[in-house]
């Protein structure tokens, strides 16, 4: 036991003196919150702009529909009549190349058809693959359709028909999402950053204590000491876990501070993310550290050099993203049978926590228990690998 602690202490001290360790330790805490801040600010500014700004829309054939143009102006949509667009083909080309988000094309026969039984035609040119333009397109579409409905209603009334005859069904939308649950999608990305930061925190040590020690030729003399190899490797993994937990804690603190500065309210989000939440999130995520340490140590044990280990471990860093990607794509809800899957269970529990919903104690116990069990299994494997003669390389 004392040998294990001696090894652990030495690895912590030695690693602390290396600049590249400090870098990897600070990578997660800095990179995550910064990226997140940028992401949220972009979202905020886009949402704000699409609601209040005067939207300028290049318009062809505005002279055919002065009333429609006036209607749009009243809704802060400014039809631009001076532009380089000559026909629909021009409009399509300019939208495709991203010069304009949306172009309104009023049919030449609009004023002629408007008074008759024909439907007057209006075209909207836009690019559905451009998400950025989606809110502007729907604003213009909504306004144009609103004009059509208003005219239709007036015509029915003029002919003595009750307009409600044309609306046999009315759909009332009742959106039950709360601000906290709307923000959860965004904050769900956060769990990945947290797991990522946990892994990167121990990356250097996991490599250095196995492949690195072999490469520097300090492994062989170490193995001649009267200490069981299990104590050596478990001591090394313990040191790795310490760094991973430190990285996780730093990242959580950084996120908590960063989220407090963000204008979450402005986009209808409210985050309950404070230091208390961060502390619970730490407890939920901490069991992932031994699992990650054992996984990285096991993988690094197969490699000959620091560089080779680094290459393999880059892929290991991607492993926790797989369940998260599925969870986000399939919109998975927390379920008992999912709680035994490491990284997915942490994601679901932390997301629940952020949504400000109650955590199910059985789920928490299952997640922690299963993650620690997987960690123990991989740790046992790492010990087995360390006992091989081939470990000397």
């Amino acid at each position: 036991m004392s040998a294990l602690l001696t090894v652990c202490r030495k690895e912590i001290i030695e690693t602390l003196r290396e600049r590249r360790t400090l870098f990897s330790l600070l990578l997660g805490p800095l990179f995550g919150p910064i990226l997140f801040t940028v992401l949220i600010n972009v979202m905020v500014s886009r949402n704000l702009s699409s609601q209040d700004e005067v939207l300028e829309v290049p318009t062809l054939g505005a002279e055919h529909a002065p009333n429609l143009i006036a209607f749009l102006r009243a809704r802060s949509i400014q039809p631009l009549e001076k532009h380089e667009i000559a026909n629909v083909e021009d409009a399509a080309a300019l939208v495709a190349t991203g010069v304009y988000d949306v172009v309104l094309v009023i049919d030449d026969a609009f004023d002629k058809d408007f008074g008759t039984d024909h439907a007057a035609r209006v075209a909207l040119v836009f690019d559905r693959s451009k998400n950025r333009a989606a809110s502007r397109v729907s604003r213009v579409r909504g306004a144009v359709e609103g004009y059509g409905q208003q005219i239709g209603t007036l015509r029915l009334v003029a002919n003595g028909v009750d307009p409600s005859l044309l609306r046999p069904l009315v759909v009332d939308e009742l959106d039950v999402s709360t601000p906290a649950s709307r923000s959860a999608l965004m904050l769900g990305v956060l769990t990945y950053f947290l797991l990522f930061a946990t892994l990167t925190g121990g990356l250097h040590l996991a490599i250095d204590t196995t492949a690195g020690e072999r490469e520097r030729k300090s492994l062989e003399p170490l193995l001649t000491l009267p200490v069981p190899r299990a104590s050596l490797i478990v001591g090394k993994m313990t040191a790795t876990v310490c760094y991973m937990l430190a990285s996780l804690a730093l990242t959580l603190v950084a996120f908590t501070i960063a989220l407090k500065q963000m204008p979450l309210e402005q986009i209808g989000m409210s985050s309950t993310f404070g230091f208390a939440t961060a502390a619970v999130a730490f407890l939920l995520l901490a069991p992932f550290a031994p699992l990650g340490a054992a996984l990285m140590t096991t993988v690094a044990s197969f490699t000959k050099t620091y560089r080779e280990a680094q290459t393999y471990l880059t892929f290991v860093l991607l492993i926790p993203t797989l369940p998260l990607a599925f969870a986000t794509m399939l919109n998975i809800e927390p379920e008992r049978k999912l709680m035994w899957i490491p990284s997915l269970s942490q994601h679901l529990l932390v997301t629940t926590l952020i949504k400000d919903q109650p955590l199910t104690p059985a789920f928490v116990a299952l997640s922690i228990g299963s993650t620690l069990a997987f960690g123990a299994l991989l740790g046992w494997l790492a010990v087995r690998l360390y006992r091989r003669e081939a470990i000397l390389g």
Partner: protein
């Protein structure tokens, strides 16, 4: 006292050692001599318990390596070929780390490390990080590290490789001093002159077998008119012929 008998070891299809047996007595420096690839390092690695023999027995100070490797390691000091230090630790910390893993208490450890630093003249580098050490400085620290628990037996794999003349002389003086203290020193080398100047007993090993043993003077008597180098060449050639 180191005794090995009928030791064989194979790596896949390659037979590195084939029934090697010899003794290294206390108060003597025994030289394991042979060309590159003869099996010297494999032999020392089996004795230092990082490798396990396929067949045969090996005892260090009467302790069987196979049944109680941990007990054997307590009486063994090992300086493997190209021993690496921990770059971010100072010379002193490198030595202390091994002392703690040997289970030394903090006070005896400090006294022991002070003594080693003084005897090996390490004062100038003891508190510097190992990062910038020369080969000679590294070997000195590695040697101090191997001796931190005051072992009765010492295994050194090509200890002088990479050392300059002065460093080599210091190392020889130090090994003679360990012999005078009654310790059992076993070192490997492929350099004839080095062995001749230092060892009391010679074990010549080639192609995984012991081909010749005896003290340098004994061998000179048995093969009058031959220099040690000629004997060495003869011994190695013999195995090459039987192998072919």
């Amino acid at each position: 006292m180191i005794e090995i008998d009928g030791i064989s070891k194979s790596f896949g299809a390659v037979r590195a050692l084939d029934g090697v047996g010899f003794e290294a007595k206390d108060g003597r420096i025994t030289g394991l001599l042979g060309p590159n690839g003869a099996g010297k390092s494999t032999c020392l690695r089996i004795l230092s318990t990082v490798l396990e023999a396929d067949r045969g027995t090996a005892r260090v100070g009467g302790i069987d390596l196979k049944s109680s490797p941990l007990a054997a390691r307590r009486v063994l000091g090992v300086l493997p070929h190209s021993s690496g230090l921990y770059q971010q630790l100072t010379g002193r910390e490198n030595i202390e780390y091994y002392g703690r893993l040997h289970g030394l208490g903090e006070e005896p450890l400090a006294a022991r490390v002070d003594a080693l630093i003084e005897r090996l003249d390490l004062g100038a580098i003891a508190n510097r990080k190992a990062k910038g050490f020369s080969q000679g400085e590294r070997t000195k620290i590695a040697l101090a590290r191997a001796l931190v628990h005051d072992p009765q037996h010492l295994l050194l794999d090509e200890p002088t490789s990479g050392l300059d003349v002065m460093a080599t002389r210091h190392l020889r003086d130090w090994l003679r001093e360990l012999r005078a203290q009654g310790r059992c020193v076993l070192l490997s080398s492929h350099v004839m002159q080095e062995v001749e100047a230092l060892v009391d007993e010679l074990v010549i090993i080639a192609a995984g077998r012991v081909t010749l043993t005896g003290s340098p003077s004994e061998l000179r008597q048995r093969f009058p008119g031959h220099s040690l180098e000629e004997m060495f060449v003869e011994a190695v050639r013999g195995t090459e012929q039987t192998a072919a």
